[in-house]
Structures are given as structure tokens and as C-alpha cells.
């Protein structure tokens, strides 16, 4: 505190040493006015938006993947018209979402569709979730299609119904197979929450921008949030690794 007050004028005069300048700018970026709390709130919002987007994305992804695989696995000659319609809707959704930039989707959702909403974080998380759903559905579809059809046949031949076969046999195996891809999607989602800033979501990037908007010193806030994102991703990658090892238990020989 005293050092900060003492060295601050030196910067204006241009006589500060490198370490003095470093200290003052670091202090401004993280300590002055308890700014670290702004980053902390940013992390909270980032994690909340990620969690909401992930929940929406996985729910949408499962529904779409189920519709599309159910449609594709119909016996030749037995086409259900309702399923065909749902399948067409899903295909349009996946095409539109994958075919337009996330940033543009956010701007449209924030300034056109929900232009009167003030809950920017929620709108942002919703957009991210809808976006993620398109990718997650393809990941799940891949997992379901990659599983040996003999597994489901064995379940059904024992007299288990479709739901039980999916629940005990197909889904646990498919989940294990797609976990690395899902983890990857989760990490992309976590970082993509930074885009919510463009519609006014108060997450990490917003915190950094608010701070350097007052101090006119960009380097420390930006490097700071970069480091925070990195640490978050490392922590979640580590947790995913533990989960994967647990699920691989049945592979041991």
C-alpha cells in the first residue's frame, strides 16, 4: 500500500525502475479497490454459464442423437412419418448451428431475439447451450453408432426391453467411449463463455475489460484472466482423467 503510493508518481515522471513499474501495475490490476473480487465474481459467472450451457447442450444433444439414430436404424420399408419430420428438424438445427459463427449467434440472440432481456448471462448461456447441443448430438450419435449392434441384440434376446437395454448396456458403454470427446467439448464451452462479453455478460473477460477501462493498463488484467482460464482447464482435465480411469475399470486384464 505504502509502496504503491510512493512509487505511483515515479511512473508518471518516467523515472520508475522495471520492478517498481511492475509492482505498481500489478497492484492496480489486482489489488487496488479490491479488484480481485471482480475477477472472482467473473470466475463464478463463467462457471455458472458453463454449467448451464453444458446442461442444455447435453440435454439437447441426447434428444437429437436419439431421434437421429432411431430414424437411421428403422428397418427398410418401415418409415415413421413423425420420426422423419423430427429428423428433418434436427438436421436443419445442426446445419444452421454448425454453419454460423458462435459470435454471430450470440449477437443475434442478445440483440435481436432477446433484445429486451437484461439477464445477459442467462441469454449467453442459453445460446452457448444451443450451440453446444449441435456438436454434442454428433458426438453421442457417433458413440451410439460405434457400439457393436450385437450388444443391443444380446440385451433384447434376453428379453430386456428397449429402455433397459439402453440404460444398462448401450448407454454406459457409449458414454465411456465418448467421454474424451465430451470432455473436449466441455473445455471448449468453458473458454467460449468468454464470448458472452459481447452481449454484456459479466464473466471473466468483462471483469478484465472493466478494470483496464479504468486503469488504461491492459497487460496484467488480460494475462491474469488467461492464467485463470488455463488453471480452470487444467483442473477440469485432471478431473476428467480420473473419471475416465474409473470407467476403464472393466478393461483391466
Amino acid at each position: 500500500m505504502e509502496l504503491y503510493e510512493a512509487w505511483k508518481p515515479l511512473l508518471r515522471e518516467g523515472t520508475a525502475t522495471f520492478s517498481q513499474e511492475f509492482y505498481v501495475k500489478f497492484y492496480q490490476a489486482f489489488v487496488e479497490g479490491d479488484r480481485w473480487q471482480q475477477y472472482l465474481r467473473g470466475v463464478g459467472t463463467t462457471l455458472l454459464a458453463t454449467a448451464m450451457a453444458l446442461a442444455i447442450g447435453i440435454a439437447l444433444g441426447i434428444i437429437i442423437a436419439m431421434i437421429r439414430t432411431a430414424h437411421d436404424q428403422q428397418r427398410p420399408g418401415h418409415h415413421n412419418p413423425i420420426l422423419a419430420l423430427l429428423n428433418a428438424v434436427c438436421k436443419v438445427y445442426v446445419t444452421v448451428i454448425r454453419g454460423t459463427p458462435m459470435m454471430v449467434q450470440l449477437l443475434i440472440m442478445g440483440f435481436v431475439i432477446f433484445s429486451s432481456s437484461r439477464n445477459y448471462t442467462l441469454v449467453g448461456a442459453l445460446t452457448l447451450g444451443i450451440n453446444s447441443g449441435a456438436y454434442v448430438s454428433e458426438i453421442i450419435r457417433g458413440g451410439l453408432m460405434a457400439l457393436d449392434p450385437g450388444q443391443a441384440e444380446a440385451g433384447r434376446s434376453l428379453g430386456l426391453n428397449y429402455i433397459d437395454t439402453m440404460r444398462f448396456i448401450v448407454i454406459p458403454q457409449a458414454f465411456k467411449a465418448i467421454l474424451p470427446s465430451l470432455g473436449n467439448e466441455f473445455i471448449i464451452l468453458l473458454k467460449d463463455t468468454s464470448l458472452i462479453t459481447v452481449i454484456g455478460g459479466k464473466e471473466l473477460v468483462y471483469a478484465a475489460q472493466a478494470i483496464y477501462g479504468r486503469t488504461y493498463e491492459q497487460m496484467f488484467p488480460l494475462l491474469g484472466i488467461a492464467l485463470i482460464y488455463l488453471v480452470l482447464v487444467i483442473i477440469f482435465s485432471w478431473l476428467l482423467g480420473i473419471l475416465e480411469r474409473r470407467l476403464r475399470q472393466s478393461d483391466r486384464r
Binding site: 457393436d148 433397459d164 458403454q173 483391466r252
Partner: protein, 240 residues
Amino acid sequence: MIDVKHLSKSFGDHLVLNDISEHIYPGDKVVIIGPSGSGKSTFLRSLNMLEPPTAGTITFDGVEVTSPKTDIDEVRRKMGMVFQHFNLFPNMTILRNITLAPVRTGRMTQAQAEEQAMALLRRVGLEEKASAYPSQLSGGQKQRIAIVRALAMNPKVMLFDEPTSALDPEMVGEVLAVMKELAADGMTMVVVTHEMGFAREVGNRILFMDGGRILEQGSPEAVFGNPQNPRLKDFLSKVL
């Protein structure tokens, strides 16, 4: 027990089963032989509707299996099936592989199912593998477990789809031994196989299929000793 009438099945333009009518009696040990692509696996798989036929009817124990109104799950509970590639569930222990279906279909409590599973495992000499996972077993052991898993539902008939074709030669014997024991206990069996020795020894009726039809059938002595159909003669000359 199983009555098949005018059964046909086509994949697109390709006719795999061509107007098959056949009856399987209680206690029958029917062995289906024939070249690959003859439709014998498709015929077996259509019996429990894993391959729904395009035309014809199948009746099992007085229930029309092919009717859309029939609860197919209920029918399948009485028909055990063993696959070429075992299809054990790799995400479960052996014990759970065996107890899952009896418990989930409400036939038994977990305790009853486990007791029965252990008894069956003892019969095939694999009780020490109860808590192992399928990846820790050899092919022959996996197939013996697959048979036990099907038996755990107390089926009235067992369907075997080339049960030894994916096995190393030295493991074929242990699986056939279990099947022979099952046959001796009076189980009704329908077996698709390339094991002619087994067909001759265990089968009471041999069906020869080619081109989606049953071209010849009869006792092992008649089919192997005195074949009539030229295609059967040709087939036997290649495999015997």
C-alpha cells in the same frame, strides 16, 4: 413347439429366406448346416424376431411371434440365444451379466438370481470367474458364460448361432461339451454350426439350407450317410 409357416425375408431385392415352413418339436435337437450366405443364420435369428421376416408366420407355444400385437420381450424370455461373438456385456462382471436379465424382468430377486448364477457357473466349471470382467476371459470361457447367461432365464428353447465359429480350435471342445450336456438334459435346441461331428452326434434332425430354402432334411444317418440333393452332396464333399 415352434411352428414356421411360409417364412420369407428379403433385404432389398435380395431374397434371403424363400418360403420356409418347418416345425420344431419339444426336445428336438435341430442342427442347421449349409454354405455361408445360405440364410441359415437369418432363419435362426428370425425365430426370436432379431430379423423380422418379410412374410409368413412363426408361432411359439401357441403365441404368434410375428404378430405386431405380441409382446416380443415376453417371447424372447423363453428363447435363449447364443451368438457367434458371445456378446457378453463388457461393462459388467460375469455375475451381473448373468443376473441382469432375470432380475430386471422381475423373474427373481437379486439373491435368487445370484444363487442360480453360481449354480450354473459351477456346472460349467467357471464359478471362480463370477467377479471377473469379460475381457479377462478366454473365448471358450466367454462362450460358456454366454450359454449360462441365456440359461439363467430358464428358456424353453435354446438358439445357437455358430457358437464355435469365432473360437480358437483348442477351445471348441469345451463349448461343445457344455452344449452336449445341455442336449442330454433334454433341452430343445436349434443350432447353426459348421461342426459336422457335433451335428452327427447330437442332432436328431439335420436341415440343409442353401439359397434361402431347406433343400434336404432328415436324421444324421440319412443326411450324412445317404445324401440325395446334389448341392448337399457337393457341400458335404467339401466339409467332410
